[in-house]
């Protein structure tokens, strides 16, 4: 099971946080801070796995992270997930974001928090990996986006009518 997915930037500012297990508000913030603290200390050429901190549940939990330019993508998982498998899943996620936003950057994540969440929901559902195929994820997101466009269009046309 994936317990949490966190994205924050090099300064520890959260850009996306999704918890699949319930923690209270304060603990969530502490987890983000603690995770950032753990992850940011690490050099570039060390392994991408970390043992979970105290808050998230101790040694049964792993933090698996990747660092892209200004952003850290961290997945917190339990022992039922494969470490390397999750590492590639992060890659798939980032590639998908890149496709959806056409050269994704930190700002895209900031201004389109909701869209990022929707993309993520097509990949991971309730802590379980739902889809690992990038094209499939994009198809799903696209069908939803198409609706958005058509709706935008209809909205505008009604305005013109008035």
């Amino acid at each position: 099971m994936i317990k949490a997915i966190l994205i924050f930037n090099n300064h520890g500012k959260p850009r996306l946080s999704k918890f699949y297990e319930h923690y209270n508000e304060d603990t969530e913030q502490q987890i983000i801070r603690e995770t950032f603290h753990l992850v940011s200390k690490r050099d570039e050429n060390v392994c991408n796995f970390l043992e979970g901190g105290m808050l998230i549940g101790g040694s049964d939990y792993k933090l698996i992270y990747r660092h892209y330019a200004t952003l850290y993508f961290v997945f917190c998982v339990d022992s039922s997930e494969s470490e390397l498998g999750i590492l590639d899943l992060i890659q798939v996620f980032v590639e998908t974001l890149d496709k959806c936003f056409e050269n994704v950057c930190e700002l895209d994540l900031i201004f389109h928090v909701d869209k990022v969440h929707h993309i993520l929901a097509e990949m991971v559902m309730g802590g379980m990996v739902l889809e690992t195929n990038m094209n499939e994820i994009i198809t799903q997101v696209d069908t939803q986006n198409k609706m958005e466009k058509s709706e935008l269009f209809s909205f505008q046309s009604t305005r013109q009518d008035r």
């Binding site: 508000e25 330019a69 994704v104 969440h117 559902m125 309730g126």
Partner: protein
């Protein structure tokens, strides 16, 4: 692709300035969210941010509550709120609006609404109930996107109690024409299974259908469920092994559509899942493993080393090969794979290689020898995580010969590690190793000193406790004990002479206790010198009041001499008027005892610590006080259960919230009562012992540790069989000294690092030979466990009591001679373990038969072959290892049933375990208010058994002794009986009682016997006679409920009455009333643990609705109802 990605992201900082924003981001930069974010980026301090966000939130609050806000605007507001919440600012006012948005918006607004709900709320949030209707509506929608959204939110969080409401709809989606819907439905159902397993029992067949789905996506989603189910019960799914192997074969051969490929690897995540499932199925099962060999071999070959993801598959393959029944040539290939992982320059692979080595080291220590040089390089790796993993590996291979080196490495690591979590874990491991393998006293004490000073106040509290216990109980010889204690005393005296203010509190407490107890062993040190050192601790600012009271106790023990008197007097003067009552108490004790040396020596007998002291557990010395109080008009004492009954009888106000506290206090009574015979509580002679109580409370937490350790041994033993076989199959390699082997292996092990200079190389070689010593010896190759035991130095007495010597006032009354050979005779213990193992397996088989037949697709529910009768004894009977020959024994045991129980019906007496000396049998008697467990201990040997002690424990059940006097002696071929009251603490479908019997044979060695007794919930169920009106009021008051449709006895003339009567006879329920198509039924476990059942005939089923004040009770009872009705 990823390269392109990296480049764009590297270019990002320049894009961050908001003015030159191209593309999509620019558009939204002008929006309100854009303004907010721009505002935030311009801020300089956290405080300003707070102010800004609060302002933003209050403006949002205003807008969302205004009636003019359209859903469209609401959507925009929600996105802003999500952003604020992500930054950690609470916006609870918006939750209800998020739900409203999900309810009323169009598809896109709904999507944001659902998103906000899933981010803001959790499954226990009360507002979530408002979402149920929306979810219901959307599940029935014709718009696929709406259905998808509903399924997503349901799998993120859904109130447990409401699952029955939407379950049929989600189930229906399993046969939806769109694969994405089917897939999401499968995952949603899996989530339901995790929260409430009982409620999805009936759809296991459908899971099988999902596994056979024509769409690979749906199939792979169903693997989540199967991984979980098989983990819980591998026996029940053996028939699926072939299917999983076939699926994996098709995947590996590339039969899936190209879409499923990832970097040219066919469906890697699917493969990983399948391999995990296979390893669970093949564990300890030769026939299943044989089915897998071929495909595992194929996977190993197909996974060409070209991409990360293939390594992930390889790693799973290797783990699987080492988990299932071993096959030599596969093991060889797997070992090669591990080798390439460990030697890889890629650090992630190295990490996994080390993990794999750690995993296989118990089966194949030779593999570690091959890679010893790499391991040593990893010890100096700059990455702490790699180091940490290496230490974990070394921990597994520690033996008496290499313990000093390994512990030194661990302590080195502890000095640099800043992470609390790692410190706690490692400190525990060091303490464990030190206790097990310490080469000598000095080393042991010094290592423990480091453990205490590094671990400080974060370490597990059982470390100091078990250390003190070890000092107290001693081990092999009296002389050795004395030396160890003396060394400890000397070491602590010199520590206190240094800078004690730097030492952690826990360590100071340990020091105080040791000095108090054993300072007299060192005749060179004057007691008043020690006293002065201790007094110094009292003056330190950093000392907590807990530490201070430890200091005072230690001083009380020491202050016998005349010279010490003045120090003691001074101290007691100061603290006699302390604001802290506990300190004042201690100071008073110190003052009085220091003046009265006769009393002092009676309270703290120095040499008499080994003598058993009689304890009056009936507290008869209080009789006078009691009769006086009664004469003065006090109410007579009533036992808790009686009190409770009366309370529930005269129930005017609802007393439920308080109801629970009574059984808890009862349990704490019984705990201390049970311990009193062996652990003599001297403190009872001192008045008002509040400190003692608090220590006891903290000590209860320790017990868990002791228990797990006992079980841990078996977990280890289970793996032995395949290991030995593996060792036999493999050609035994000629024995070489590790040094030689190291020489040979070094050439290819150094590839990843620059060649070290010859000197450092030699150092490493030396380190290697000291680290891996003992690994190559034949005994340790075959089985490391055995060599461990023989070399263990500080042999612990079997944990009769896990109670630590809290403040030193409790002394074990085991005679010192008994300590001579405390380690269990390995024959006996392994036999015990294996018999226990067998009973485990038997019980598994049994439950597997009962529970899983129903899930087979072809298995008709009516044709269950092993019906479990309502008589619970069948369950227990299944546990008996050899049933036939023991029958006659059972019969004669009946005569030993206590007289007061003979009138009541009891379950069949079953043999639980036998060894050379003892036969343990048990049965249970259902009494009016509780269940009584009767254990028969028969001494079948020719010598008498002494000091018989029994411990029974179960997490969900409160066990209290009927009469607690340890049997002093059990003559040969005689029988003794122990009785226990059992009451349910936490309801569960079935309870496992784990029991331990400790005894000594004439030879003097302490022996143990273990057994497991299974009791289903049904034996605790009692009818609850209530009237319909009472039922009505109770129904409204109870908060935990569950609903499910049960089969109805349709063929009867009055199906409802017949069904309820069946439940009545099988489960002892009370049928309150039947009106038309509805019936109400009531039962209870204890007077305060009621459960009400409301049944209605509906569409040929029995719609059952259970309610209770106790969590889990409705679910567990429902399970038994379902069972009873299926079996009829």
């Amino acid at each position: 692709m990823s390269d392109v990605m990296e480049k764009t992201l590297t270019a990002l900082p320049s894009l961050l300035s908001l003015d030159s924003q191209p593309g999509s981001a620019k558009l939204s930069a002008n929006s309100k969210l854009g303004n907010l974010i721009r505002g935030i980026t311009e801020l300089t301090s956290k405080h300003e941010e707070e102010k800004l966000i609060q302002r933003e939130l209050s403006s949002i609050k205003e807008q969302v509550s205004s009636p003019n806000t359209t859903m469209r605007q609401m959507k925009e507001l929600m996105v802003r709120t999500i952003y604020c919440e992500m930054l950690g600012y609470e916006a609870s006012f918006s939750y209800i609006h998020a739900i409203k948005l999900a309810q009323q918006g169009n598809v896109l607004e709904k999507r944001v609404g659902y998103l906000a709900v899933s981010l803001f709320l959790n499954e226990s949030h009360e507002l979530l109930l408002l979402l149920v209707n929306t979810v219901l509506k959307d599940l029935q929608s014709t718009n696929l996107i709406e259905v998808c959204m509903a399924l997503t939110v349901v799998s993120q969080m859904f109130p447990k109690d409401m699952i029955p409401a939407i379950l049929p709809l989600v189930e229906e989606k399993l046969s939806h024409s769109k694969e994405i819907i089917r897939r999401k439905a499968v995952l949603a159902l899996y989530k339901f299974y995790l929260i409430a397993p009982n409620q999805v029992q009936h759809i296991h067949n459908k899971f099988r259908k999902a596994l056979c789905d024509k769409d690979p996506g749906v199939m792979s989603a169903s693997l989540h469920i199967y991984l979980q189910l098989i983990q819980e019960n591998p026996e029940g799914y053996k028939d699926l092994t072939m299917s999983f192997v076939t699926i994996l074969k098709q995947v590996v051969m590339g039969k899936l559509p190209m879409d499923f490929n990832y970097h040219c690897v066919p469906a890697p995540w699917l493969q990983i899942h399948l391999l995990r499932i296979l390893s669970l199925l093949g564990k300890n099962d030769q026939s299943m493993s044989e089915i897998m060999y071929e495909i595992l071999d194929e996977s190993l070959q197909r996974a060409e080393m070209n991409h990360n993801i293939t390594y992930a598959i390889l790693y799973e393959c290797v783990k699987c090969i080492y988990t299932i029944h071993p096959k030599p040539d596969l093991l060889e290939k797997a070992a090669k794979c591990i080798g390439s992982f460990v030697l890889s320059p890629r650090i992630n692979l190295k990490y996994l290689g080390l993990k794999a080595l750690t995993y296989v080291v118990q089966q194949d220590p030779k593999l570690v020898l091959q890679h010893q040089m790499t391991i040593i390089e990893c010890l100096d790796h700059p990455d702490l995580i790699i180091k940490r993993e290496t230490l974990e590996l070394l921990f597994r291979i520690t033996n008496a010969q290499n313990v000093t080196v390994i512990v030194e490495k661990m302590l080195d690591f502890l000095q640099v590690s800043e992470d609390n979590h790692t410190t706690i874990d490692l400190v525990g491991k060091v303490a464990e190793l030190a206790e097990k393998y310490a080469p000598d006293n000095e080393w042991f004490i010094e290592t423990m000193n480091t453990v205490f000073s590094v671990g400080g106040d974060v370490m597990q509290p059982d470390i100091p406790n078990s250390f003190l216990k070890l000092l107290l109980e001693g081990f092999d010889s009296v002389e050795e004990d004395k030396k160890l204690r003396l060394f400890a005393v000397n070491s602590y005296v010199s520590l206190l002479q240094g800078e004690p203010s730097r030492l952690p509190q826990r360590f100071l407490q340990v020091i105080c206790w040791v000095l108090g107890e054993y300072a007299h062993l060192n005749e060179d040190v004057e007691p008043d010198a020690v006293l002065r050192l201790l007094a110094k601790l009292l003056d330190m600012k950093s000392s907590t009041s807990e530490t201070k009271s430890w200091v005072l106790i230690a001083m009380t023990k020491l202050c016998s001499g005349g010279a010490a008197f003045s120090v003691a007097h001074e101290v007691s003067e100061t603290y006699g008027s302390s604001m802290d009552t506990m300190l004042r108490q201690r100071a008073q004790e110190l003052q009085h005892l220091s003046q009265d040396s006769a009393l002092q020596s009676r309270v703290f007998p120095r040499s008499g610590s080994q003598e058993p002291v009689e304890v009056d557990s009936s507290l008869s010395f209080l009789d006078g006080f009691v009769s006086e109080a009664l004469a003065a008009g006090a109410a007579p004492y009533k036992p808790p259960h009686q009190r409770q009954e009366e309370m529930s009888r005269s129930k005017v106000l609802s007393l439920e919230p308080y109801g629970l506290s009574l059984p808890i206090s009862m349990s704490s009574c019984s705990v201390t009562d049970r311990q009193s015979p062996t652990l003599l509580s001297m403190s009872s002679s001192l008045s008002g012992d509040s400190a003692e109580l608090s220590h006891k409370a903290s000590s209860t937490t320790l017990k868990l540790d002791g228990v797990t350790r006992v079980w841990g041994r078996e977990g280890y033993l289970v793996q032995r069989e395949p290991v030995q076989e593996a060792a036999q199959v493999e050609a035994p390699s000629p024995l070489r000294s590790p040094r030689q082997q190291g020489d040979e292996d070094s050439p290819h092990s150094q590839t990843p690092t620059p060649t070290p200079t010859p000197e450092s190389e030699q150092e490493k070689q030396q380190l290697a030979s000291s680290l891996f010593v003992g690994l190559a010896s034949p005994s340790s190759v075959s089985l490391m466990g055995k060599s461990e035991q023989t070399s263990q130095r500080f042999r612990r007495k079997a944990r009769i009591q896990d109670k630590p010597p809290t403040s030193g006032e409790q002394i074990n009354n085991l005679p010192p001679g008994g300590a001579a050979d405390l380690l269990l005779d390995s024959n006996v213990s392994s036999e015990l373990v294996s018999s226990l193992e067998q009973t485990h397996r038997n019980s598994l088989d049994l439950t597997a038969n009962g529970a899983c037949d129903a899930e087979l697709p072809d298995g008709d529910v009516k044709e269950i072959k092993t019906p479990l009768s309502t008589d619970d004894s069948v369950l227990a009977a299944g546990l008996s290892p050899h049933e036939g020959p023991d029958r006659p024994k059972d019969l004669c045991l009946t005569s030993y049933l206590p007289a007061e129980l003979s009138g009541l019906s009891h379950s069949e007496i079953t043999l639980l375990c036998t060894n050379q000396s003892l036969d343990l049998s048990a049965c249970h008697v259902q009494k009016e208010d509780c269940v009584e467990l009767v254990v028969f201990i028969k001494n079948s040997s020719d010598s008498a058994a002494h000091q018989l002690q029994m411990q029974i424990s179960c997490e969900e059940i409160e066990v209290s002794c009927v009469c607690d006097s340890p049997v002093e002696e059990l003559k040969s071929h005689s029988v003794t009986v122990c009785q226990y009251f059992l009451t349910v603490k936490r309801p569960s479908v079935c309870f496992d009682l784990v029991g331990m019997v400790y005894y000594q044979l004439a030879a003097g060695s302490l022996q143990t016997a273990q057994f497991l007794y299974k009791l289903p919930l049904t034996s605790f169920i009692r009818p609850l006679a209530v009237s319909t009106e009472e039922y009505g009021t109770m129904w409204l008051a109870f908060s935990h409920d569950t609903k499910q449709n049960l089969p109805l006895m349709k063929d009867e003339r009055e199906p409802l009455t017949a069904t309820l009567n069946l439940l009545k006879t099988k489960l002892q329920l009370h049928v309150v009333e039947i009106i038309g198509e509805e019936g109400i039924v009531a039962c209870c476990l204890r007077p305060d643990q009621q459960c009400l059942l409301h049944c209605r005939m509906h569409a040929g089923m029995l719609a059952a609705w259970l309610r209770s004040p106790v969590p889990d009770l409705p679910d567990s009872l429902l399970y038994h109802c379902q069972r009873a009705l299926q079996e009829r």
